[in-house]
């Protein structure tokens, strides 16, 4: 399989005054094109740190990191911004949409920095919103959307420049279980189309929707497992909807 990401002996040390925190230690990791994988681990184990390094928001301290066979470590701020723009799509726990812009305008934003022309931009943004099932919400602002819809706008935005990898740091953390399944449904659909996706999560159930689970503790990669039969988000969503209906009905009977 073609490697998108390959890291070896990677370390990250944060220095705050006299305090040093080793957030990642001697990490060797490869991610192939078309993978859907998840990262798990307790709080403070270094998951977000890894995402920030993969996403070129942060720099590594030791070791090497190749993205699409290009060495990232020696790049300057502008080159890193360019990589983020073209090769990385971010999805955050707290959505991070611009509140005064519509869904469509939010999705257009990465293309503005890519220098895409106006009409082309519009068309690609519409396409991306269609891919996440939001063609009827394009003119809405974030405060007019549900959490699940916001996260799907964010996914459309992450997709729109055809990145090498989509990085999602706890994308379901602020969502109820049904919306969480919807997000995973979108990810599974996109992955079938060939998009490489990396999801950080605390929930085992979410991780089991992916094909590979990597676990961290104290900055060390401690487990790298393959999931033989990943959960199907569409089926899971149906199950959850039925469960919640049953809960509502039960509550009704108790009255």
């Amino acid at each position: 399989m073609e490697q998108i990401i390959s890291m070896s002996g990677l370390g990250k040390v944060y220095i705050n005054g006299r305090l040093q925190v080793e957030a990642l230690k001697n990490l060797t990791l490869s991610i192939g094109r078309g993978e859907l994988l998840s990262i798990m681990g307790p709080s403070g184990s270094g998951k977000s740190t890894l995402m920030n390094i993969i996403g070129c928001l942060d720099r590594l301290t030791t070791g090497s990191y190749m993205l699409d066979d290009v060495d990232i470590s020696g790049m300057n701020d502008n080159e890193l911004a360019r990589i983020r723009n073209r090769k990385i799509g971010f999805v955050f726990q707290s959505f991070n949409l611009l509140p005064k812009k519509t869904a469509l305008q939010n999705v257009e934003l990465p293309m503005i920095y890519a220098g895409t022309g106006k009409s082309h931009r519009r068309k690609k943004a519409v396409d991306a919103l269609e891919r996440v099932g939001l063609s009827d919400r394009m003119a809405h602002r974030p405060n007019e959307l549900s959490g699940g819809q916001k996260q799907r706008v964010a996914i459309a935005r992450a997709l729109v420049n055809n990145p090498s990898i989509v990085l999602a740091d706890e994308p379901t953390g602020n969502l109820d279980s049904v919306s969480g399944e919807e997000v995973m449904e979108v990810f599974q659909g996109l992955n079938k189309e060939g998009v490489t996706i990396l999801v950080v999560t605390h929930e085992r159930e979410i991780a089991e929707h992916t094909n590979r689970i990597i676990s961290f503790r104290d900055g060390y990669l401690i487990k790298d497992e393959t999931v033989d039969n990943p959960l199907d988000a569409i089926a899971e969503k149906k199950k959850r909807l039925e469960q919640s209906k049953a809960v509502i009905m039960e509550a009704g009977e108790n009255d």
Partner: protein, 403 residues
């Protein structure tokens, strides 16, 4: 990100904080307005003075005392005018005047007046237009006739009409003595700014009487403050002036008594005084502008703090430092450039009003407008740099975490 995009972004962001943006702009608007108005005022005053000097003629020499405390025998007196004319063939006109205060009484009403006692050729030095009757003539001077010239506004106010030739007015001088004088002429009232100030209730009216009559009623005081001479040519005013001084000093038998000033020199002095005043005002206006600019820096810094998270998002999506810098500088320039435009428009308006009042063509110069506008843009660039740099240097990860 191209310029059009950042322009759009900046306009949107200014629109979301409309009131705040407008209040911030007021400082710059006032600054640009004062700069434009002061420059306009400066050139207005200059051209007003030029017009006035042209009216008088540029070929006037004034003989004055070198020191204030001249002895009685060295006073300039009316007879000296003959000495000057006899000794200087270039002299075309010669005149003198004295200026005193008094009260004019018409029936029971009193009006403060400034009384000009003038010699017969005075009107060749200070253009006076008559509405009715005649001006003071040679005979009035020789016979010390008790006649007076008033202006239209005075006539209208105290007689309800302007053709008041032959009417008698009582003049009461500061010593308490009173004389009755006959109106022989009515001057036109001006319609420029200074005449309208002069028409003010509390402002004294200007009247003219024969210099000999005025000397007579005011203690028979012979001393003239100066003698004005006009010559045919414009050249060599300095030399002719020096010659007149020589003639007089020879006549008095003592040197170093008088100086000759000419209108060209005076115009120069006026202009340079005006230049200094304009420069001082301009400095004040520029300070206003800088204070306004600090307001912009301040508000942009607030804006940066409010938008830390937005900046983080933009950086995560691929914004480079220059994109963020461009965004904030564009905001700053939009604010200063539009303030500049408004200030310029207000300045042109004020300039036109002033020009209208003192009857000269509008004088906000093309140069001033271009300068003020490019100046505003440059100010926007300068004031935008620091906040923009601050925004661009934010760490993306910390910005994304910022609440």
């Amino acid at each position: 990100m191209n310029f059009y995009e950042s322009l759009k972004q900046a306009l949107e962001s200014l629109k979301t904080n409309k009131l705040r943006s407008i209040l911030t702009m007021v400082g710059i608007i006032m600054g640009v307005f004062s700069v434009v108005t002061i420059m306009a005022l400066g050139s207005a005053a200059e051209s007003y003075i030029n017009v006035q000097f042209e009216k008088i003629g540029a070929n006037i020499i004034t003989i004055q005392y070198k020191s204030d405390a001249a002895e009685r025998k060295n006073w300039l007196v009316l007879e000296d005018m003959e000495t000057i004319v006899d000794g200087t063939p270039e002299v075309k006109n010669i005149a003198a005047f004295i200026q005193r205060g008094g009260d004019l009484r018409v029936e029971s009403k009193t009006k403060k007046a400034i009384v000009y006692g003038i010699s017969s050729q005075y009107k060749n030095f200070s253009p006076i237009e008559m509405a009715e009757g005649r001006f003071i003539n040679e005979f009035d001077i020789l016979s010390r006739s008790k006649v007076i010239i008033v202006d239209e506004n005075f006539a209208q106010k105290y007689f309800k009409r302007t053709d008041i030739i032959g009417r008698i007015i009582e003049l009461k001088v500061s010593s308490g003595s009173k004389i009755k004088v006959k109106v022989v002429g009515v001057m036109k009232g001006g319609d420029d700014l200074f005449s309208s100030i002069a028409n003010n209730e509390n402002f004294p009216t200007f009247v003219y009487m024969p210099i000999t009559t005025v000397q007579n009623i005011y203690y028979n005081y012979k001393k003239l403050p100066s003698i004005m001479v006009s010559v045919q040519q414009k050249e060599q005013l300095k030399e002719i002036g020096e010659r007149i001084v020589n003639v007089l000093e020879l006549h008095k038998g003592k040197g170093d008594l008088y100086v000759a000033r000419n209108s060209v020199e005076e115009q120069k002095i006026f202009s340079s005084v005006l230049g200094v005043i304009s420069a001082v005002l301009l400095v004040i206006a520029v300070i206003t502008l800088i204070v306004g600019g600090i307001g912009i820096v301040n508000i942009l810094l607030v804006s940066v703090t409010e938008r830390i998270r937005e900046i983080g998002i933009r950086k995560a999506l691929g914004a480079q430092k220059k994109d963020i810098v461009l965004q904030f500088i564009t905001e700053s320039v939009i604010m200063t450039a539009s303030s500049g435009l408004i200030g310029i428009l207000m300045g042109i308006g004020a300039g036109n009003i002033i020009a209208n009042q003192i009857k000269i063509p509008p004088m906000v110069e093309y140069k001033t407008i271009v300068l003020a506008f490019t100046g505003s843009i440059i100010l926007g660039l300068i004031f935008g740099v620091y906040p923009a740099k601050k925004a661009a240097d934010l760490d993306p990860i910390e910005s994304l975490r910022y609440e």
